[in-house]
Amino acid sequence: MDIVISGLSKRYGEKTVLKNFNAIIPEKKMTFIMGPSGCGKTTLINILMGLVEKDGGTITGVPLLKSAVFQEDRLCESFNAVSNVRLVCENKVKNKEIISHLERIGLEDNIFKPVIELSGGMRRRVAIVRAVLAKSDIIFMDEPFKGLDDKTKEKTMQYVVDNTRDKTVVIVTHDIDEANILGGKIINMEHLKTIS
């Protein structure tokens, strides 16, 4: 089922972040939410994830099983990459499978280090594997490839494409190239830039 957003609005005090926003997010496809800083992209996916209450409008069709790559990595700092991924996985997902995914994304030498010791790019990739391996029907990704060098970004994007084929994926990004390479629907929020 597609996600249908109608007349969505959200204010923070005097600041209107979303006003009468309408969009359709197709099921089992990639959708890119684009637009300049402050236009409400993160607020929109936070509403879709159920982390922020909307002020008005309707949203239908959001699957119950969600996973996410947040704007910040939101990892458990003292635990290693495998533990961080296993935290959100079902018991049937074995360590071997988690390790294989982490290796595929170029983390083979850092799998058992506490994530606090990893670089920003490595931590980002742990967060991506966590979102991919969690049981979900929809994955929200807020600027998932930020902080990655070109080569790693390419590898990581391919990993996301290969492992999310049967899921709805919503990606917030500033980079049109990401949308062009990965392919999918683009929702441009530029004209909605924050109204104060």
Partner: protein, 255 residues
């Protein structure tokens, strides 16, 4: 290399300061020249060695140790559970507040005298230790729970992480500094209040009873020797307990 040099230097400085304090004590005691008022450290060491050979030495230590540690552990468990409930339900925090404030502000001697009427001698020191430990553990753990990273909790919410995993991966690591500091403070207080309860209640076969006898018979060397033993037990148990907490966390992080 640098760290080991600094650590060696610290050790030497500590030893030097301890030696200096002992020298001041010895000189002061010799100057006063009245063993009833203050005994020399040498006399205390001699008395300590003679205490080791007395029949009831280890039973007295065992008696007090078991009761005070039991009181501490009960305070740790109950305080943690209360903090968990208060962290989840604001109403519970409000309801607990008068009890915690009362325990914190009422002098320990008042509790001891009151409990002398309610409790047997055997349970008095345990209960008093428990009572003194409870508010420290409760307040620290509650503060830790309230300071837990909201963003990690949101992450757990989105991924539908179960309660047990949330406790292990999110709450326990974030509570570590609060737990360590609470245990360190509470343990010292458990020993001080527990021994005070034994002295006031004159619990048979306890360290407190030995202190009470030292007061009655003016045996100052006994008073100093038993005090030294209490300090060693208190610090030793604190170090051992904190070592196990660190081990527990090291094991947790290897999960």
């Amino acid at each position: 290399m640098m760290n080991s040099t600094t650590s060696n230097r610290n050790r030497i400085e500590k030893l030097a300061s301890a030696a200096f304090a002992l020298l001041v004590w010895q000189a002061g005691a010799m100057l006063i020249g009245e063993s009833l008022l203050i005994v020399t450290p040498i006399a205390v060491v001699k008395r300590l060695f003679s205490l080791f050979t007395e029949a009831d030495f280890f039973t007295s230590i065992g008696y007090s140790f078991l009761r005070i540690v039991a009181g501490f552990l009960a305070g740790l468990i109950v305080g943690t559970l209360m903090a968990a409930v208060a962290g989840k339900f604001h109403l519970a925090e409000i309801m607990f507040q008068p009890f915690i404030a009362t325990i914190k502000s009422v002098p320990v001697a008042s509790f001891i005298i009151l409990c002398l009427i309610w409790l047997s001698m055997g349970t008095l020191s345990s209960f008093i230790s428990f009572l003194m430990v409870l508010p420290i553990i409760y307040s620290n753990i509650l503060q830790g729970i309230k300071s837990t990273d909201r963003k990690l909790l949101e992450m757990a919410e989105v991924f539908r992480v179960g309660l047990l995993r949330r406790i292990v991966f999110i709450y326990l690591p974030q509570l570590k500094p609060y737990l360590m500091s609470a245990c360190s403070v509470a343990m010292g207080l458990a020993w001080k209040s527990g021994i005070a309860a034994e002295v006031i209640g004159v619990s048979n076969g306890s360290i407190g009873e030995k202190l009470y006898e030292a007061k009655i018979y003016y045996t100052t060397a006994d008073l100093f020797a038993w005090t030294f033993i209490i300090v060693v037990l208190s610090i030793g148990f604190e170090k051992l307990f904190l070592f196990f907490i660190k081990k527990f966390y090291a094991g947790l992080e290897r999960l």
